[in-house]
């Protein structure tokens, strides 16, 4: 038996013994479904907490992170086996969030030893939940013109300014933020620092903002003379832009991955387009009678398949030892636009039953779908808009001039 085979056997046994019985066979869910963790997290069940505890202890919430920082220390091949087993046993994700997908990978790359030892284990165990303080009222797509200030004074800096669209700031413990520490720099990208701030520090306040979908997952975040130790600066003072861009890379691939997940969990729940069409448009078992809808469904499904095949092609090429090709630049753009089209089509198929906001006359699933459709409109805005992605492809991949 090869090492990988014995790893598979041991892992399977361990999972079967340690997963809460209620979770075995419950089903996966996408990158955005599961506990986000943190001090303020309210577990939906004892099982959810138990599952996070055992997996966090083993480092398997972050399987490939080095074990000295609390991670699983697994090789990519072992991590793949683990992921396969989790899917096979239909176990949900023990932990999700920006710690695992954004700041963690960024600290592994740019953090100093002290920062890694302090922050990574707490992410792995789901103790600290992170949010992202990038955007400001006057700095969105043009992120580098941000104005939040960090004034350096001895071993700390004093941060003041306003961040906006900070997802889940009101439920998070720490924030990674971009602040301008050298306003006199000639290039606006040059005077920016990447800092880690404890949300409990005096001077940090958050105010939830309501979305068109009715929920309030993001906030305005104010910093009023917040004292931040310089030990919390990542990659050195004024060197934050490189870190910021690397993190955006992680964010975009997370968003792209999440859409692969949305599609598969959609299907697992029986919410496939074809089932919806039979239900809302009627007709027998044969070809759907509404030829226009039939064509539209085929189009979305085929585009979805083309997208997942392209994700697979990138992975297969990486496994074969090729450098990442230009194709990976398309994932954020295509994945989010496709997700929007998918919701748009679902809404059209459901017809008037998709118009409910709340109350009688609609099933819960219908009301949820409508809210999800509204939320999906943000997919091509958050993490860099589609227009910005097209700019990036035109410039970096196609080499078109400014």
């Amino acid at each position: 038996m090869s090492n990988l085979d014995s790893f598979r056997e041991e892992t399977r046994q361990w999972l079967e013994q340690n997963a809460p019985p209620a979770f075995l066979g419950r089903g996966g869910g996408g990158e955005l479904e599961g506990p986000w963790g943190g001090r303020r997290w309210k577990f939906s069940s004892d099982a959810e907490k138990q599952w996070l505890d055992v997996m966090g202890e083993r480092g398997w919430t972050a399987p490939t992170w080095p074990s000295e920082y609390g991670g699983g220390g697994l090789s990519p091949a072992e991590a793949k086996v683990l992921a396969q087993l989790l899917r096979e046993l239909k176990l949900p994700r023990p932990l999700i969030g920006f710690g695992l997908t954004m700041i963690g990978p960024t600290l592994l790359q740019f953090g100093n030893e002290e920062q890694k030892r302090l922050h990574l284990p707490r992410i792995v165990r789901g103790e600290i939940r992170w949010c992202q303080g990038y955007s400001e009222p006057n700095a969105g797509s043009d992120l580098a013109s941000l104005q939040a200030r960090g004034v350096v004074d001895g071993d700390h800096m004093t941060v003041s300014g306003t961040k906006v669209w900070t997802s889940y700031a009101d439920e998070c413990d720490w924030i990674f933020a971009l602040v301008r520490t050298k306003p006199e720099a000639t290039k606006k990208q040059d005077g920016i620092s990447f800092v880690l701030i404890d949300m409990e520090d005096p001077g940090v306040s958050v105010k939830p903002i309501k979305l068109i979908s009715g929920s309030s997952p993001f906030c305005e975040t104010h910093f009023t003379d917040v004292k931040v130790p310089l030990a919390n600066v990542v990659n050195g003072l004024h060197n934050g832009w490189t870190v910021a861009k690397a993190l955006l890379g992680h964010e975009r691939s997370m968003i792209a991955d999440a859409f692969g997940g949305v599609v598969s969990s959609d299907r697992a729940r029986g919410g496939g387009l074809q089932d919806m069409a039979r239900r809302y448009l009627g007709g027998g078992d044969g070809p759907l009678e509404d030829a226009v809808t039939r064509d539209a469904i085929a189009q979305v499904e085929m585009d979805t398949r083309a997208f997942t095949l392209t994700v697979q092609r990138t992975r297969d090429a990486a496994k074969a030892g090729h450098k990442p090709g230009p194709e990976s630049s398309i994932f954020k753009l295509y994945g989010t636009e496709l997700n929007k089209r998918r919701y748009e089509l679902q809404i059209k198929i459901a017809g008037p039953q998709s118009l409910g906001w709340e109350g009688p006359g609609y099933e819960d699933a219908e009301l949820q779908r409508t809210r999800d459709w509204l939320r999906s409109r943000g997919n091509s805005i958050e993490g860099g808009t589609s227009e910005i992605q097209l700019n990036v492809i035109a410039k970096r991949v196609l080499g078109l001039p400014d």
Binding site: A298, A394, L400
Partner: protein
């Protein structure tokens, strides 16, 4: 299934690209057209391709082939597709050749395959008719028993590479209504058989294509390919294979058309700046790039799925063809638009791609046809 080229496949791609650059740049397609070449391709070059082993790629070693698959052939066809190389791979190798190789009995195989593999025989597959559009089951041509063989009467149209061919497969109905999938026979016919008339057609891409008329053409009983009445199954099998081959060619064509357009965007100046600096064009170029990247994944997956006889192979073929049809036409249209006035001139090459895209789009089913087929295969 791994969607990645092996080292051998990469080598093959490089050889084919070098060959095309040396022997068949896009100018050759223009010259063939301008000289009214009756074949529209070159027998000598075809022989060379056979000697390189490309013609024999999918055929068994016993008949001189390489015993490889569509994944390998696709690599060659993509490289040749970049300069719209017109040699008869689809007709001779993937349609007629594969039908005989995979479904014919020993006599038919012995008669045709070795000659095909050596590049000596070019063979067409005469299945479409003027009213059949993309339906393989629409066959009005009839055959009736005559002695120990059959007598065939009817007319085929849009038959790829039929002009100047050595022989062809023809579909003819022995029973049933004109659109019945049952009751279709396939026969191997020599081009010089009495009663055969082949009349060249000129389409917008100027590739070899012809009407094939059969007036009481007599064939021997052992000229039949496939089980009696089951010609439709054979056609479904080989047309899927040829579709993947065509998709690979289209991928090469659209990639090249896009590269030409991109070069023009960087070079041509208006308003004191390269036109590629205008965001309206940048975004369209980026969107086209995305489409072509997706096409590449679909074509590679379809070729591998057919080779592996995967259960969803037919769906992947439809996925590849639907996407290739839309993306190649888009690359042609966007190319002409972004070239501007010169894009409309015969002197510029981009128009050749636009025209080939249109013909390729409507060969083996357009995007709407394949979306419908996908839906049907998915049960809705």
């Amino acid at each position: 299934m791994q969607i990645v080229l092996t080292e051998d496949q990469e080598l093959l791609a490089k050889t084919a690209a070098d060959f095309a650059a040396e022997h068949s740049p896009i100018k050759r397609v223009r010259d063939l057209r301008d000289s009214n070449d009756p074949l529209g391709y070159s027998r000598a070059l075809w022989k060379q391709m056979a000697e390189l082993g490309w013609v024999g790629i999918p055929f068994p070693e016993a008949v001189g082939g390489a015993g490889m698959g569509l994944a390998e052939l696709a690599v060659v066809l993509e490289a040749l597709g970049r300069s719209l190389v017109p040699e008869p791979f689809l007709s001779t190798v993937l349609l007629a050749g594969e039908a005989i190789s995979r479904h014919g009995d020993d006599a038919v195989r012995a008669e045709w395959l070795p000659r095909i593999v050596r590049g000596e025989a070019v063979m067409a597959c005469a299945y479409p008719e003027t009213t059949s559009r993309y339906a393989l089951s629409q066959v009005a041509t009839r055959c009736e028993a005559a002695g120990s063989g059959f007598r065939i009467t009817g007319e085929k149209s849009h038959v790829l590479d039929a002009a100047g061919c050595d022989g062809f497969l023809v579909s003819a109905r022995s029973a049933g209504a004109d659109n019945d999938p049952q009751g279709i026979e396939l026969f191997a016919v020599s081009a010089d058989a009495p009663g055969v008339e082949i009349v060249g057609q000129t389409r917008v891409d100027h590739r070899n294509c012809a009407i094939v008329r059969l007036q009481g053409v007599e064939v021997a009983g052992d000229a039949r390919v496939g089980a009696p009445g089951r010609g439709h199954t054979v056609l479904e099998d080989v047309v899927d294979r040829a579709t993947v081959g065509l998709c690979a060619e289209m991928l090469g064509g659209m990639s090249r058309a896009f590269e030409m357009t991109l070069a023009h965007l960087k070079e041509r100046e208006q308003f004191g700046a390269p036109i590629g600096s205008f965001q309206a064009l940048k975004h369209r170029a980026a969107e086209l790039f995305v489409e072509i990247e997706l096409v590449r994944s679909c074509v590679m997956a379809a070729a591998r799925a057919v080779d592996a006889e995967a259960s969803d192979a037919r769906k992947l073929v439809s996925l590849a063809k639907a996407r290739c049809s839309d993306a190649f036409v888009l690359a042609g249209n966007e190319g002409v638009q972004m070239f501007g006035g010169v894009g409309m001139t015969d002197e510029y090459d981009i128009g050749f791609y636009l025209k080939r895209a249109r013909v390729a789009e409507m060969t083996f089913g357009d995007a709407a046809y394949h979306r419908s087929r996908w839906a049907q295969l998915s049960g809705y």
